[in-house]
Amino acid sequence: MKTRANFSTISLVALVVMSFTFMSCEQKVEGIKIAVAGPFTGNIAAFGEMIKRGAELRAKEINAAGGVNGKTLMLVFEDDAGKDKEASLVATRIATNRNILAVVGHFNSSCSLAGKPIYKRAGIVELSPGSTNVRVCEGSDWTFRNLYRDDFQGGFVAKYIKNVLTDIQKIAIFFDNDDYGRGLKDGFTNAAQKLGLDIVATEAYDRDNTDFKAQLTSIKAKNPDLVFISGLYSQAGLIASQAREVGITVQLFGADGVDSPGFLEIAGDAADGTYVSTPFVFELGGSEAQRVAKAFEAEYGVAPDTWAALTYDAVGMIVEAIEKGGENRKAIQKYLASMTTPEKGYEGITGLTYFDKNGDCIKPAYVKVVHDGKFVPAEKQMLDTEM
């Protein structure tokens, strides 16, 4: 019967396709493999670009100096598009690939949170150079990060506004409705209220949205002195320019999600004067940071941003863990978990990183401001790390 013959051939085709899929796994080549997971596509791909370059620069330098234990360091880039659903899929993909020893990533808090239980089940380290939500390192021995948390960042921004931008009293918050935006909004609101600032409006937006005028009009009616944008650069850029179009003329303040050259590109003139909190500022870094910045610019033609720096350090930390701990997943985790004091910490270009029992670290926050279309360090910084 014709169907039988068809069935055999089609099934054969299906089987062939499936076997190809098996083979699509990274083949074992002599070398040390680390995965780097981040938003390499999607509307926040500017982050991914910097992350990729930061990682690649570090790998290049390491390999030029002899590699890891004499072996070539190879990076496997996995794209989560900034979405938690993709992150889950990427995490299972990475976790089942026995050649990958550790993960530098993810970037977005929701993605790191999505990966966390999967990495925990599989027993592979997740070291995030960008996730700030408070829950990211909770409940798992395998998750670490080398930057601050959002309860700290929220409090920091509130304190900065109170102490430095002294004529601000009424604040409107416009936040991205994901783990990061929400968590930071909560951190900020708590701290602001304790400091006696008034939160006159709190509006949420969806990252898929491109028209914010309805909510901005609503915010304008409440007459804030400052609008705090708790979200990522793409939407923040649109919000900034649309806010000006709607007639909001007051100060804008963004958090580290806004710290990207993409913000300047999208917001254009509207960006001028916007403050941004961030985990690192190259201009205020040490001599090693300057050297890396020059090397980065020589290699890629653009200046590195905060995320390139944090990724650069994260890769370095994993490599140190491999060299001093062992070439397997568990050894890496043990080594990182043992970095509990400043003496045992990692001195990188972004500062000294050491972990508490959760995998979080205490590092200062900086402030940048947009001046003439560029990010420059704000005049006044607040570098103490007390909450």
Binding site: G42, A204, D206, N209, T210, A214, Q215, S234, I266, D269
Partner: protein, 297 residues
């Protein structure tokens, strides 16, 4: 009060946009009973065409707009020719699936070629007359020239379309085909030709909407999907197959969405469109104005 007025203005602008897109859906449905899923993507391509005209080619915005309209009209006709015409006599399911496939192809083509990066019309390329000026209405509400222009343009195009459909020969042919293709054919009307024109007009109007949204907001590959769904809901609301209905539906939906977003909850903005769509189909499938040309499915 000021806020309310400004929200209404936002709603009218959005409504104008939806109306422009909705007529595309409704005309195609009226004439070949196909939900052209790919129409939203044509809207999106319209925005991209104009964007690249002003940035890469350095043309004036006022030149980019008609160029984009032309390109989209061609694109619409091409899609009909390649994907839909061969299935003219196939079961409706097949055509619908093809339309979905087309939408997938176009959206991802855009995403692959241009990436998901948000693109804003650079300051120098925006028509300064429109962007820089605004009127202050009584009560303090601001109405930018751009918004005013969009509303006026939408109204003008709608009136023009109406004139076309009811007062010209080609419009008569379109109405005839919508009523009964076989009879129209027998009367000597080249139905394929007329259908192509329908696609062209719908696509050109979609392009206008795309360019305006691109200018006012941003250009990115998924814009067609979101606006498209809402516009489709507007078409359904007004009565799918009914051009005037599409216009009316567009305005109503635009205002409803904006008021909902501004006063109730911004998160359910698009949900308003879905809810209206479902309720209308279940309780009053012929929409507000019903199909102006008879035959029911």
């Amino acid at each position: 009060m000021t806020q309310f007025l400004e929200q209404i203005i936002n709603g009218l602008v959005l409504g104008g946009i939806y109306a422009l897109i909705a007529v595309g859906y409704t005309m195609v449905y009226g004439i070949i009973q196909l939900i052209n899923f790919a129409h939203g993507e044509i809207f999106m391509f319209g925005a991209y065409f104009a964007f690249f005209c002003v940035t890469t080619l350095g043309l004036s915005f006022w030149l980019a707009l008609p160029i984009s309209m032309l390109l989209c009209a061609l694109m619409g006709m091409l899609i009909d020719f390649i994907a839909y015409r061969p299935l003219r006599n196939a079961p409706r399911l097949s055509a619908l699936i093809t339309a979905i496939g087309m939408s997938l192809v176009l959206q991802n083509l855009a995403r692959m070629i241009w990436t998901a990066k948000l693109r804003k019309f650079p300051v120098e390329t925006r028509p300064s007359f429109l962007v820089a000026n605004k009127i202050i209405l009584p009560g303090g509400a601001q109405l930018s020239f751009l918004d005013l222009f969009i509303i006026v343009l939408a109204i003008g195009l709608m009136i023009g379309l109406n004139r076309l459909i009811y007062l010209t020969k080609i419009g008569k042919a379109m109405r005839a085909c919508a009523q009964n293709k076989v009879a129209a054919n027998l009367m000597g009307i080249n139905t394929n030709h007329v259908i192509a024109v329908t696609f062209a007009i719908g696509s050109a109007l979609g392009a206008v909407a795309g360019v305006m949204v691109g200018l006012r907001e941003v250009v990115e590959p998924t814009m067609g999907y979101y606006k498209g769904v809402s516009a489709f809901a507007a078409a359904v609301l007004g009565g799918i197959g009914n051009v005037t209905g599409a216009m009316l539906g567009g305005v109503i939906l635009g205002i409803a969405e904006v008021l909902g977003a501004g006063y109730i909850s911004s998160e359910y903005r698009v949900a308003i469109a879905y809810i209206i769509m479902i309720l209308v189909i279940i309780f009053r499938p012929s929409g507000l104005l019903g199909k102006s040309t008879a035959t029911r499915a």
